[in-house]
């Protein structure tokens, strides 16, 4: 699917098929909604099967068009997942920093992707609902704070220390972020990082006449991308 893309886009662009996986209610759909519409809904219906959305990210030299497959999180939907991560060149594996079990599930997903998905798939591990952690602590300092649960009135709901998840991500060579779909913190950064991490060879252009141009585009050095993409606005159309 990485090579398939839309036929209607006027601008030359590279399509990237991205799939979101993770336990139910960790905020996959909310992340996508934040990324695509810069919006957040308190009560989001669970995803049935999967939802499909697209979002373009204009880079200085080209546009990346994310074709996002947002999947259902409940365990029993797992057998449908291969249908969605088929040909994906990137994956967001999401867990909820207030739910340790969701990290275990995320690890299972990573293992599955590494074995079953396209080789070279770029995987980002994303701990969502960062807004529920004690806001004052920096990601680094949060580790210790999380260790001793939430005895303070500050009520830190964080249950997964950053350190733990980070260590795991490093070990498996994953991108790692902690985000909040609610506040928008770090959301665009995740997608930007993925856009930059995708090997050029994975980037294919659009179909038809645009294809050739896009192929050209995709060969352009992307090193500048990260900074430009930093701002949310850069992505939200």
């Amino acid at each position: 699917m990485a090579d398939a893309s839309q036929g209607s886009a006027p601008k030359p662009s590279s399509s990237v098929k991205l799939v979101l996986l993770g336990e139910a209610a960790v905020g996959k759909s909310s992340l996508v909604m934040r990324f695509v519409n810069n919006d957040f809904q308190e009560n989001k219906e669970p995803t049935i099967g999967a939802a499909f959305l697209t979002q373009k990210c204009p880079l200085p030299t080209r546009t990346i068009k994310f074709e996002i497959w947002d999947t259902a999180g409940q365990e029993r939907f797992a057998s449908l997942a291969p249908m969605y991560y088929r040909n994906a060149s990137a994956a967001l594996v999401v867990y909820d920093i207030t739910k340790p079990s969701s990290l275990t599930k995320a690890q299972h997903w990573v293992a599955e992707l590494q074995r079953q998905a396209s080789p070279g798939i770029v995987i980002a591990l994303v701990g969502n609902k960062l807004d529920l952690a004690t806001p004052s602590t920096s990601p680094e300092g949060a580790d210790e704070a999380a260790e001793d649960e939430n005895d303070d009135d500050e009520a830190d709901a964080r249950k997964v220390p950053t350190k733990t998840a980070k260590a795991y991500a490093d070990e498996d060579g994953l991108l790692f972020f902690e985000t909040s779909a609610k506040t928008g913190e770090n959301v665009a950064e995740v997608f930007t990082a993925i856009a930059n991490a995708i090997p050029e060879t994975q980037l294919k252009g659009t179909r038809g006449s645009a294809a050739a141009r896009a192929q050209e585009e995709s060969r352009v050095n992307l090193s500048a991308g990260r900074d430009t993409m930093g701002a949310k606005e850069g992505c939200a159309c």
Binding site: Q6, A25, A50, G73, R76, S79, L80
Partner: protein, 1105 residues
């Protein structure tokens, strides 16, 4: 593994003979077809049927058969006379113009005809489904024509709050039976009987009917007290407004039409389906009646009638109990139709919570699946909680079975079916999809799973539901096809998922617009896109019938299930935790298959036994089945299949034994209570389900496992969470300990732990004895290849010397183990205190007893006390005898002369002792045989997928190649045919497996021979085992066995340190040359029994008593 072998044979047979499949397993039984047609609950089966003609008497008129000619003509012209069939079941009288028949002589096609085209009437067609409890009176009408005619007065309108319905309101159905006098009379007799028992359930009827809006609504005009009555609950819509604009939906007009219809044709329980009924449904139900008509057309009404309190009872019974499903439900409560105001309130959320929770308790296998929240949230807008609960039952179990199961196989299957229908009906579009690499199901899956509720605006989704509940699941397909057909052109321009999806999204959002906005014709212009969709779905795709769907499902089912099982296996193996990495991919796959295989077999067996009991009970009871054959349920054969999400996942101790029996020869019982009988296997899948002899042993067609203490210890150890059952993960973790490491030290430590009950790092005398007994238990079949091989149980008479010698080496090693263990044991001072207080003799007896038997069988104590000179061997033999363990051996002569026992400090119970791990290790390593036992020998007694010589490094590298698993390649001779699931790997695969099994056994024999040879070589090189010669003349020995045993055992227990040096040699010596005795008998006796008596007594020092 025999178990597996046989089930492969069965399954192979099943595949080879397609008739077998269709006749007994795949075609639903006639009763279940009958239930399907009339949407009746499980409890009903047809007992009578007869051709008949139904005449509806008009309001106020009496019966029309006697009426004037004009009357009758008028009614005929109005279509209120119907010819069809009348059926009687336990609690229902059903009439349908459909023409299906369920008598035993009826062809499948005629029993199934309601699944064909129904012209919008649904399977039950015109007619009625009348609970017998709703019949007030049946009169036989005098008729000129000499025919049987019945006038049936129903209770229609009786529960409307008034004591007596006016005569005007009485519903009378006139039915003319068309059959021989005999047939008619038989029918009437049965009806009479049914009516009598129907009386008992009139309370239920009254309760259920009083909750029907129709009852309230129709009573409205005629009843004075009516105004004070609370209207029955018609869903959240009454409180929070029904979706859509009531005026635009023409709700009032619809309501009027329905009122008229219900007055004419009867309401709720007494409703008669006439053509107008189906038409009224097609145009969309009015808000207040929607829930009730859903109930009637889906049949959930009848389920509710059967047990009106089930909902409240279920909630009460499980109140406060936690469950996984409840956690999952909680997560989604705020995420179900959140835009609808009711679901922003505690009222709505509460109802949703209760209905979902109650259902999760009634069907724990399904529990809760996302999408159910949306469906239930939707139906709760029009229904009371109770109604929704029963409708959800019917939905999950009958209308869309498997959609919400843990594997969602129904959903996946229907996606396959849908794709194949698209391919058939719209080949160009299908080609386009293929070329553009668009996977249709990514779009269509949510349509089916949430019954279009999430895909279209609610008001339209409900219109789809109206028809869906009447006509069944084929509606989902017709709608889907119509959607694609209507959007065909635009879809052909879409070249990827994104474009494809957006075409459809746009379409759904504009369903209320005109389908022909540019048309000159105002009538055409008024047609909405949704109306167009309905027309295309039900006219253009009228040919898509329920039968089409069933056929397609049958066609794709295997592939889908296999896929799921493959996926589940892959995922499950991958997530087995870090310990699993110590085992090879092959072994993991094998353990997975075997684990679920055993559980599946056991579940099947249980089911068959239950069915058989049921059948017997039924046969003894009423003759309900007079003319109707009772057949077993359709899906029986599949219950427990992993892909259906109904498999057990917990292995209890008995299942564990059965599991071991398939992979570890030592775990087989030497003395099966019910010998493994070949004949029994055939019967499961035999042609006639009714003839099958359910002579099911607890172990099915497999060999009977032993029940040794060691097995219990293993189970306990592996059950790390103390749940009294093992999960696959437990099992794998367990195996990773015994098989996953080549580190002898950790193997020894593991074994030590197994016997260190209190975890204090000490094993006492008792433990040592138990350990050594376990050695013997484990080793007793180790060399017994012929026995292993000849499953039929014919032991081979001759055995090679090589084999024997290995056996004996092991025996002697165990003897020396005991001696050394006691020798090097440390005195336990703490224990001393307590022990001293106990009766010495008792203690010994006890420990000996345990030594001997391995299960703490109290009975034996008696025996033991009687035979005064308690020597361990003696104990063993008597105990074994008492237990009936020794079956192939002549009984042990009990006139054993008492020996005088020399003092044995180690065995003095007054001096408790223990060994620690280091001591244990030292003792083990001091003996070559035991050393090798702990190195690889023990691990190799478990026969998994990989060849018995373990290679610890081979593990994870090959996980990615799991696709090949289950297909035994000829190259891997040692592969075991353990793969029971998925059962339908294709005939090829099964036969391969069968062949491989043979090869494996051969290989196994060869390997063991080689092992033995190596052992022999080593031994002779060391000059340790001098005599292998006397392997002849065992037959004579057999008889003397018991007497031989004692001395040998005594030697084992000797404390004479001087003997230690020679012990080894002696052990070998003593063990040498014994042949038959070793095989297939109880562990301790025979090998020891071989000793020559004289030799023994010279060497052995007995302990005193």
């Amino acid at each position: 593994m025999f178990n597996n072998l046989s089930s492969f044979v069965q399954k192979a047979q099943q595949l080879i003979d397609p008739n077998l499949l269709s006749s007994s397993t795949n075609n639903p039984s006639k009763s279940s077809l009958f239930r399907q047609q009339f949407r009746l609950p499980e409890s009903q089966s047809p007992s009578q049927e007869i051709l008949a003609e139904l005449t509806l008497s008009r309001h106020g008129s009496t019966n029309s058969v006697d009426g004037s000619k004009e009357d009758r003509d008028r009614e005929r012209s109005q279509g209120s006379r119907y010819s069809g069939r009348l059926f009687l079941s336990e609690h229902y009288m059903c009439f349908s113009t459909q023409g299906s028949s369920f008598v035993s002589t009826a062809t499948f096609a005629s029993s199934n005809s309601f699944n064909g085209e129904t012209h919008g009437t649904g399977p039950a067609s015109n007619g009625f489904t009348l609970p017998l409890s709703a019949v007030r009176r049946v009169e036989r009408l005098p008729s000129q024509t000499n025919l049987f005619a019945l006038a049936i007065t129903t209770s229609n309108g009786f529960s409307s709050g008034r004591p007596k319905a006016s005569d005007d309101e009485l519903q009378k159905l006139t039915i003319q039976l068309l059959g021989s006098r005999q047939q008619c009379e038989r029918f009437c007799d049965a009806l009479k009987k049914g009516l009598r028992s129907g009386m008992k359930t009139t309370d239920n009827l009254r309760k259920v009917v009083s909750l029907c809006y129709s009852e309230y609504h129709l009573a409205e005009d005629s009843s004075k007290e009516h105004k004070e009555r609370e209207p029955p609950d018609t869903g959240l819509g009454t409180l929070f407004k029904y979706p859509g604009d009531a005026r635009k939906l023409r709700d009032k007009a619809k309501m009027r039409l329905w009122k008229e219809y219900l007055r004419e044709s009867g309401r709720n329980a007494c409703l008669v389906r006439q053509p107008t009924f189906h038409k009224l449904i097609r145009v969309g139900l009015p808000n207040r009646l929607r829930g009730e008509i859903w109930e009637m057309s889906s049949g959930s009404f009848y389920l509710r009638l059967q047990n009106p309190d089930l909902y409240t009872e279920t909630l009460a019974k499980h109140s406060g109990k936690p469950s996984l499903a409840i956690d999952e439900i909680e997560k989604d409560l705020n995420r179900s139709l959140p835009e609808y105001p009711a679901y922003q309130s505690e009222e709505g959320i509460g109802r949703l919570r209760r209905v979902l929770t109650a259902y999760s308790w009634t069907n724990e296998e399904v529990g809760y699946c996302q999408a159910m929240n949306i469906v239930v949230a939707a139906i709760l807008i029009y229904m009371s909680e109770e109604q929704a609960f029963f409708l959800l039952n019917v939905l999950c179990e009958q209308l869309v079975p498997g959609y919400y199961s843990t594997t969602m196989y129904g959903t996946l299957l229907d996606q396959k079916v849908f794709e194949s229908l698209v391919e058939k009906t719209m080949p160009i579009l299908w080609d386009h999809l293929q070329k553009s690499d668009v996977q249709l199901s990514v779009v269509s899956l949510p349509w089916f799973l949430s019954l279009y509720i999430n895909s279209m605006p609610l008001i339209f989704a409900f219109r789809v539901l109206d028809v869906f509940f009447l006509e069944g699941p084929k509606v989902l397909f017709q709608m889907g096809l119509a959607i694609l057909r209507i959007n065909g052109e635009e879809l052909l321009d879409a070249h990827d998922d994104g474009a494809f999806i957006s075409v459809l999204k746009t379409y759904f959002s504009r369903l209320d617009e005109s389908a022909h906005p540019k048309s000159e014709n105002p009538k055409l212009r008024a047609v909405t896109r949704f109306q167009e969709l309905m027309v295309v779905a039900f006219k253009e795709f009228a040919g898509i019938t329920q039968q089409t769907i069933s056929d397609q499902r049958a066609k794709h089912k295997d592939a889908v299930l296999n896929n799921i099982e493959h996926f589940t296996k892959r995922t499950s193996i991958r997530n087995l935790g870090p310990e699993s990495k110590k085992l090879s991919a092959n072994d993991l796959g094998f353990l997975y298959d075997r684990f679920y295989g055993v559980l599946y077999d056991r579940q099947q067996r249980k089911l068959l036994i239950e069915q058989e009991n049921d059948r017997r009970a039924k046969a003894g009871r009423a003759k309900i089945s007079d003319i109707m054959p009772q057949m077993s349920d359709d899906n029986a054969i599949e219950v427990g299949r992993v892909a259906l999400g109904s498999s057990d996942t917990q292995m209890d101790y008995d299942a564990f034994r059965e599991f071991l029996a398939g992979i570890a020869p030592w775990s087989l019982s030497d003395n099966p209570a019910s010998p493994w009988d070949k004949e029994k296997q055939q019967s499961y899948f035999g042609n006639s389900m009714r003839n099958r002899s359910v002579s099911l042993t607890p172990w099915g067609s497999g060999p009977e496992p032993d029940d040794h203490e060691f097995m219990r210890r293993l189970f306990r150890q592996w059950d790390s969470e103390h749940q009294k059952y093992l999960t696959l993960q437990n099992l794998v973790a367990g195996f990773s300990h015994v098989k996953g490491t080549r580190d002898i030290m950790s193997n020894i430590a593991y074994f030590f732990d197994l016997y260190d009950d209190d975890g204090d790092g000490k094993i006492d005398r008792d433990g040592i004895l138990k350990m050594s007994e376990a050695f013997l238990f484990l080793g007793r079949k180790g060399l017994d290849i012929p026995e292993l091989q000849s499953s039929s149980g014919t032991p081979k008479k001759s055995e090679s010397t090589v084999v024997l010698s290995k056996d004996e080496q092991f025996l002697s090693a165990v003897s020396s183990f005991i001696k050394r263990a006691f020798e090097y044991a440390d005195p336990d001072s703490q224990m001393n205190m307590t022990m001293k207080r106990q009766n010495t003799a008792d203690n010994v007896t006890k420990s000996m007893d345990q030594f001997a038997i391995g299960d703490d069988d109290e009975d034996d104590l008696v025996d033991l006390e009687e035979s005064k000179p308690v020597s361990p061997v003696k104990l063993k033999s008597t105990a074994a005898e008492a237990e009936g363990e020794v079956v192939k051996l002549p009984p042990v002569p009990s006139e054993d002369k008492p020996h005088t026992h020399a003092a044995n400090a180690a065995l003095d119970p007054a001096k408790p002792l223990f060994i620690s791990l280091p001591t244990f290790r030292m003792v083990i390593l001091a003996d070559e045989v035991l050393e090798s036992f702990f190195d690889t020998g023990f691990a190799n007694t478990f026969l998994l997928a990989d060849s018995p010589i373990p290679s610890s490094a081979s593990a994870m590298a090959s996980l990615t190649t799991f696709t090949n698993l289950g297909r035994a390649s000829p190259a891997t001779v040692a592969q075991h045919p353990g793969i029971i699931l998925p059962p339908t790997k294709g005939l090829r695969g099964m036969l391969d497996n069968i062949v491989n099994d043979g090869m494996r056994v051969a290989h196994e024999v060869r390997r063991r021979m080689e092992d033995a040879q190596r052992e022999l070589d080593r031994a002779s090189a060391a000059g340790a085992s001098p005599d292998e010669e006397d392997d002849d003349d065992h037959d004579e020995h057999d008889e003397k066995m018991s007497s031989h045993m004692d001395p040998d055992r005594r030697s084992v227990l000797s404390t004479d340190r001087d003997l230690l040096e020679t012990a080894e040699a002696e052990g070998v010596d003593s063990g040498s040359g014994r042949a038959n005795s070793v095989r297939g008998t109880s562990l301790l006796d025979e090998p020891i029994g071989e000793k020559k008596e004289g030799e023994q007594s010279a060497k052995v020092v007995e302990f005193e008593r």
